[in-house]
């Protein structure tokens, strides 16, 4: 589904990713871990198409297509979803309107009829339960005044509505208490299907107790320095990152 080959990317001329190679197949969950500044979030942003990041070499193939050439909105319409580390507040646009606009954009790209507000409300009702969200949150402005936990649940709600093929969760566990973490993780697990894949970017192993990965990759200095299975995450939790960084150096 996703083939990243020797990817180099920079922001404002500063190289951040220095040769990432990663292959993700349908049905898999990959965890990307690493210390602060290792390039984890950059990788997530690059995959989603953030305009501030420039791909300087290498390639990203998504379902066989060159992802780097697609605008962010087209990636989303093709099933790529990024759950933001810091979800953006948009005062003045209701959550319901925003969700439906996103949903309809995808429907349109798939050649399907757009849904009206009533149809959409029926559809979103189930998804709200998934993240234990009060329907009243739909009429509030997108993320405006939401607590940290509410924002992250709102990200997962969007993910549930858009049913992405490739979901990238960027430090979704940051700032969450254990209850909110469970809700978010349960939502993500419920959305796992044999034909979709998830990349979980996280600093801590804790999240991986709830979202169990098939593969764990450690990013340092813009490269994947070690890959393994879920045991690697436990080892990192126990020993920290330093031993690995020393071994690589």
């Amino acid at each position: 589904m996703l083939e990243i080959r020797d990817l180099h990317a920079s922001v404002d001329g500063t190289p951040i990713l220095k040769g990432i190679t990663l292959s993700v197949k349908a049905g898999e969950v990959h965890a990307v871990m690493g210390p602060n500044g290792s390039g984890k979030s950059t990788l997530a942003q690059v995959l989603a198409g953030h305009p501030a990041y420039e791909i300087t070499s290498g390639e990203i193939l998504y379902k066989g297509e060159n992802l780097a050439e697609m605008e962010a909105e087209h990636r989303a319409q093709q099933g790529v979803f990024l759950a933001f580390q810091y979800p953006v507040e948009i005062p003045g646009v209701s959550n319901a309107y925003f969700l439906r606009a996103a949903y309809n954009a995808k429907r349109k790209a798939e050649g399907l009829e757009e849904v009206d507000p009533m149809e959409f409300l029926d559809l979103v009702e189930e998804q709200l339960k998934l993240v234990d969200m009060d329907p009243a949150m739909l009429s509030r402005s997108v993320n405006a005044g939401f607590s940290g936990g509410e924002k992250k649940r709102n990200e997962i709600l969007q993910m549930a509505v858009l049913a992405p093929t490739l979901a990238i969760l960027d430090e979704t566990d940051s700032g969450l208490d254990i209850d909110a973490l469970r809700i978010v993780a349960n939502g993500v697990n419920a959305l796992r299907k044999p034909d979709n894949a998830t990349i979980v970017v996280t600093h801590y192993q804790r999240l991986l107790n709830y979202i169990v990965p098939d593969f764990v990759h450690v990013l340092a200095g813009g490269r994947i320095v070690k890959s393994g299975n879920k045991e690697l995450a436990l080892e990192l939790e126990a020993r920290g990152y330093d031993w690995l960084l020393e071994a690589v150096a």
């Binding site: 305009p51 605008e71 962010a72 909105e73 989303a76 979803f81 005062p91 925003f98 954009a105």
Partner: protein, 438 residues
Amino acid sequence: MSTIALAAPALLEQATAAAAADAPEVLRAERAAGAREFRALGLPTTKVEDWHYTSVSSIADAKFERMSGDAAGVTAETLAPYVFSASWPTLVFVNGSYAPALSSTSALPAGVQVMPLAQAVTQLGDVITRHLGTMAPASRDGFTALNASFLGEGAVMHVAKEMVTDVPVHVLFVTTDAGAGGMQHPRLLVVVERHAKAVLIESWIGLTEQPYFSNGVAEIVVEDGATLHHLKVQREGRQASHVGTIEARQGRDSHYVSFAYTTGAKLSRTNIYTVLDGEGCGTTLNGLTMLDGSQHGDVQTRIEHAKPNCFSRQIYKSVLDDTAHGVFNGKVYVQAIAQKTDGKQTNNTLLLSKTAQVDAKPQLEIYADDVRCTHGATVGQIDQTALFYMKSRGIDNERARQLLTYAFAAEVLETLENETIRVALERGTMRRFTAFVD
């Protein structure tokens, strides 16, 4: 005349004649004062600090004739897009004169009176005698003087003590092609007696692409414990010049809640002045200005904290496109006696083009030492982070930009208490920026 006054000979000639013409007894002195003051004041040049960013020389040089009052061709259907609810008490003025056929006051709540000034001179003579010219004296500036010299059109609204109503009273000033080249100087006088609550909408509607000049003055008294919500909608024609002054005086524990919605006119200036003249009162002055083409829109507010323990809140937003020019000057005066004043002013402008411009000037003058007053102004383009967020959800660039523009404007519309008004203005704004509504 001088560097601070523009001679306006055509206007002066007409003002002098108007003041000399026969007038109802209760208006005579104010008219005379108007003509006298206008002769002395003229119109302000851009050398006058308050008018630094807005030149009115085009008004001084023009030869506007008083509008004829011809209401031909204006029907309820014509006005439907501008009347928020046909069931609300409505006074309509067309081309400067009261149009009884288009007006209806049958739905007036008990204790609320609203009528044309011409009728009020007999029925509400004591209200006029007591208040007219006291909030907005003819000596204030050239435009107010000019308005005074033509006193005769406009409306008086009186809300008896303890009468609480949420039903808006709507006063519309409509100009059609028959008003082309014309001018109107209506006066509104609103008195909300103690512990009463009322809602007033003042609309300025242009149904012509021809030039004309509107120069309105609203005087507002909010007595002790009373509340007035006052919406001013300025949707004048694209070639119009509009100057509108609102001057309020507030009693103890009163609340004045104003919203200025501005999309019209080629050249416009809105003044909203209030004096918090009793302890424990509050003022909320919010507004939204949306301009494009070569429109020029200037909003000036002045809040005078004259007594202790009062609060004021201001949120003004502008969305400017093409070569439009917006001006916001927010003045807050806190007198030495007005301790514990709590004032907050926010002014945000969104520029949609490189050639649009804004002059934002917060102005705080504080003479008391135990107060909290803040102000903040931002000028910017579409928020790139929010834009990427929307795009990352599949919403295309154009639509995301439209939605964010709408959202910027809608945020301040959310402060409107009346849902019918809020929804109507939100829909209008949605249509303006996104070409879709639902």
